[in-house]
């Protein structure tokens, strides 16, 4: 789980923060409601995770709530990895 969190966090920092943006991304930092990731850009994160972990996250499960923090995303990935 910690490894998954790290992968997600690193991807979020690389993919969504602009150069010079030094906001800290913690495991409970609100990503979507906090304006760091918009709902369009969320697609690339979902796609990245599906490829990385060879899983399929159904669109119905890929809600802005489920993708709002590193913790909630990690929980989702774990659930589908086990499934």
């Amino acid at each position: 789980m910690d490894e998954i969190r790290k992968v997600i966090r690193d991807y979020v920092v690389k993919e969504y923060l602009e150069e010079g943006d030094d906001r800290e991304i913690r495991e409970d930092t609100p990503l979507i409601t906090g304006g760091i990731v918009d709902s369009f850009s969320m697609v690339s994160l979902k796609r990245f995770l599906e490829r990385k972990y060879s899983i399929q996250i159904p669109d119905a499960e890929a809600t802005p709530q489920a993708f709002d923090t590193v913790n909630s995303i990690a929980a989702l990935v774990t659930r589908f990895t086990k499934a």
Binding site: G35, F40, S41, V43, S44, R47
Partner: protein, 415 residues
């Protein structure tokens, strides 16, 4: 009664919240045609005052140009007021097709289709030409109308960091499994006034087999040596697959927009774009005015040259005075204040000094990026800009922001 007390109360609370957050928008009533100087009633109920307009999209000063007004009058006389129809039933006059052909020639595309607005063009175009087999890769700062249009389309949505070509290339490579890729960008970005790197975008798109879409609403008529737009400025005329633009800014400022581009893509919009199919035709009076606008700006570059001179002059005045402005070449010149309340206070004080300019803050721009967006027009004369800078300096001194950079303004006023 379906509109219950509960519903009314709920909406009243929501509106009160908007007011509480300083996000409530109020219209100001203008008692004059659009121009460099207008008479504005504000606050509502006060007698109108003459102010210098620094916030219109009237880039070429054609909104009230006598020849455009005369052409619109003639159109009204010869083709009537309304068509009472969508285009494909009985709403297409000879002048609609004439305007489409002129836009095609002006923009250097293969064909053009008129829409009631560019908002409608953007809302309809993606769904008409892309499917779930495709991907749309948009700059993260594209206009809200593009975001809405993408939401209506079944193609996969992805984004790249603003004007970051390395990131765009990563995305293009990543999506090679899709049938079609479309890179989506504004030509000139409306909030920062910066110009898309269309030459690089086109190069990457050609390398990775992608189409290119540009919304040139804040460019058509004045960006590029002869005002054709961002594609002319970047030397890629004929290599953009879809251009959407508006008649509601530089090109007369009334209303109406279009999709211009590859013949088949435009035809797909004629067959499938819902805002085209299910919305009324552009009124004859507007079509007639727009035809005259294209005649005027095709005959001479005088107006866009004046706009360019005004832009250079205004940018120099602000810089010399010590304001923190977004650098660039476009006539959108944001004066950065960072703090939302400061932006509102400065705009209010400028109005008291006879200058109409608007403060923009979250959610229109990112948090901590509040600014006064000033916009130049070919209708501005030197005296307007000299008067405007005098007012800016007076207000800037009051808030002690002249000569301060980003960090110093934030230190003084917070975010």
């Amino acid at each position: 009664m379906a509109y219950s007390g509960k519903a009314r109360e709920s909406y009243q609370n929501e509106l009160a919240n908007l007011r509480g957050q300083g996000l409530f928008k109020e219209e100001r009533y203008i008692h004059a045609p659009q121009g460099a100087e207008i008479e504005v009633e504000f606050p509502t109920g006060n007698p109108p005052r003459k102010v210098i307009n620094m916030c219109a999209n009237n880039y070429l000063g054609l909104s009230s140009h006598p020849e455009v007004v005369a052409a619109a009058h003639a159109g009204l006389d010869h083709r009537g007021y309304g068509m009472s129809s969508v285009r494909f039933i009985c709403g297409t006059q000879d002048i609609h097709r004439e305007l489409e052909n002129k836009l095609t020639e002006f923009l250097g595309t293969e064909d053009t289709l008129l829409f009631p607005s560019c908002m409608d063009a953007n809302a309809g175009v993606f769904e008409a030409i892309l499917t779930e087999q495709d991907v749309m890769i948009a700059d993260r700062l594209v206009h809200a109308s593009i975001v809405d249009g993408m939401r209506l389309c079944k193609a996969m949505q992805d984004t790249f960091k603003h004007s970051d070509m390395g990131h765009l290339e990563e995305k293009l490579a990543e999506h090679q499994d899709k049938r079609f890729r479309m890179v989506i960008t504004d030509g000139v970005f409306s909030m920062d006034g910066d110009i898309a790197k269309l030459d690089e975008i086109v190069r990457l798109a050609e390398k990775h087999d992608a189409m290119v879409f540009v919304d040139d609403s804040h460019a058509s008529g004045f960006i590029g040596r002869t005002g054709r737009g961002t594609h002319e400025h970047c030397g890629v005329v004929g290599r953009i697959d879809v251009i959407t633009t508006t008649l509601g800014k530089a090109l007369g400022g009334a209303s109406g927009g279009c999709v211009a581009g590859r013949r088949e893509l435009v035809e797909m919009c004629r067959q499938r774009a819902r805002p085209y199919l299910f919305s009324n035709t552009v009124a004859p009076v507007i079509v007639s005015g727009a035809l005259k606008v294209l005649d005027l700006i095709s005959a001479t570059t005088e107006r866009r040259d004046t706009l360019e001179r005004n832009t250079l002059y205004w940018r120099k005045l602000l810089t010399d005075a010590g304001f923190d402005i977004k650098p660039g070449e476009s006539p959108i010149v944001p004066v950065m204040l960072y703090n939302a309340k400061l932006a509102q206070d400065v705009a209010r004080d400028l109005f008291a000094e006879g200058i109409y300019a608007v403060g923009f803050f979250f959610p229109v721009v990112a948090k901590g990026q509040a600014r006064i967006r000033t916009q130049l027009s070919a209708a501005h004369e030197k005296r307007h800009l000299d008067a405007a800078i005098a007012a800016f300096i007076k207000v800037g001194k009051k808030y002690e922001i002249l000569g301060l950079g980003k960090n110093q303004i934030i230190e003084k006023y917070g975010l």
